[in-house]
Amino acid sequence: MNWWSRLLRRHYMEEQLEKELRFHLEQHASDLIARGHSPEQARRQARHALGAPEQVKENCRDARGTRWVEDLRQDIRYALRTFRQKPGFAAITLLVLALGIGAATVMFAVINSVLLKPLSFPDSARLVTVHGFTAQFGEFWGFSNLDFADTRHASRSLAMAAWTYGGGTIGAPGEPEYVDGRQISAELFPVLGIAPLYGRAFLSKEDRPGAAPVAIISHGLWQHRFAADPSAIGKTLVFEGKPHVVIGIAPPGFQLSGDPDVFTLLGQNTDPRMQNRAARFLHVIAPRSRCHVGRGPGRAHADCPSFGRTISQVERRG
């Protein structure tokens, strides 16, 4: 009989044990009677020879090797009974446990995504986010579209890309649905080193006002809106009421500060804020290898003279 059947057939095991010990006692007693003892005396002597029956049984149960499971079951029962008797204590215990576990999980999730997990881009260690600086406001992460255009123009050697949040409603195909989106400059995919799974990346000639609207969609959206059909390339996606031609499918798991489903071109955005130098809503990314940097991301600006000059020009103009 293996461990599992010993555990599961506990009542059977108990019966067998009881029966075996009873046989032993009766056999011993009848031997003693045959040797001339009185029945009562014989039974007493047999019991005495075997020892306390409960102790013997306990030792036999220990020998089964299933003891810890049975003890665990008893401990759990005992714990539940105690909880029922003292619900206040139980509630506080559970609350403390829940908060503790929750806090630890949150901390791990944040540390894991911010510090431990590398970015989902190839060779992400060479990427830097570009920050601006003004004497008046100090360092800032956001670029206005005009600043970005000037900076990019002034630092020809540096491939820079910009993005901003741009969610919206998909009207067709399928049911209307609000999805997360990003407006990106045409260079973003090449700068990140990402190639679309199908189709192509954006072209810089498309990255300007009045060009034909095109979109790259996430792998997930492609699966549930286009049934993962590669012929989705060239189809029309109505996004924010405007038909966009789908030109590419992002690779699975591609993230950009979240899991956006639709990528459109920043340059096709005609909002007034695109012409407002004070509206600093763009994140700017650059590959640091082009800056000849060897001393860590914090020093990138010091090692990119042309870039540094551009910032100061931008500052003067702004």
Partner: protein, 115 residues
Amino acid sequence: MAGSKSDLPQGTLDLLILKAIAVDPVHGYAIAQRLEQVSRGVVQVPEGSLYPALHRLENRGLLTANWKKTDTGREAKFYRLTRKGRKQLEADAVSWQRLIEAVGLILGLGEGGAQ
């Protein structure tokens, strides 16, 4: 009476049980009887330890048990050796033999000893 009986050294009960059931299947009570008889009353099996030991050996696969009728027509649990148990018995007997020879040598009871 008590002076003529010896307590079993630690760990020998398993070996004695294996030996006692080596020939034919026996139930627990008969194992105790058999050991006492064969040792001419010197070894008294602590009955309280006998059953835990039997169950432990059974769970280790050294012996196996089934219920059979005794001569008197009563149901009893009979134990017999498995192949693994027989190997264990042989190995244990050899190492026991070596141990008592060594102890005998140390106590001067061996060849060339005083007695």
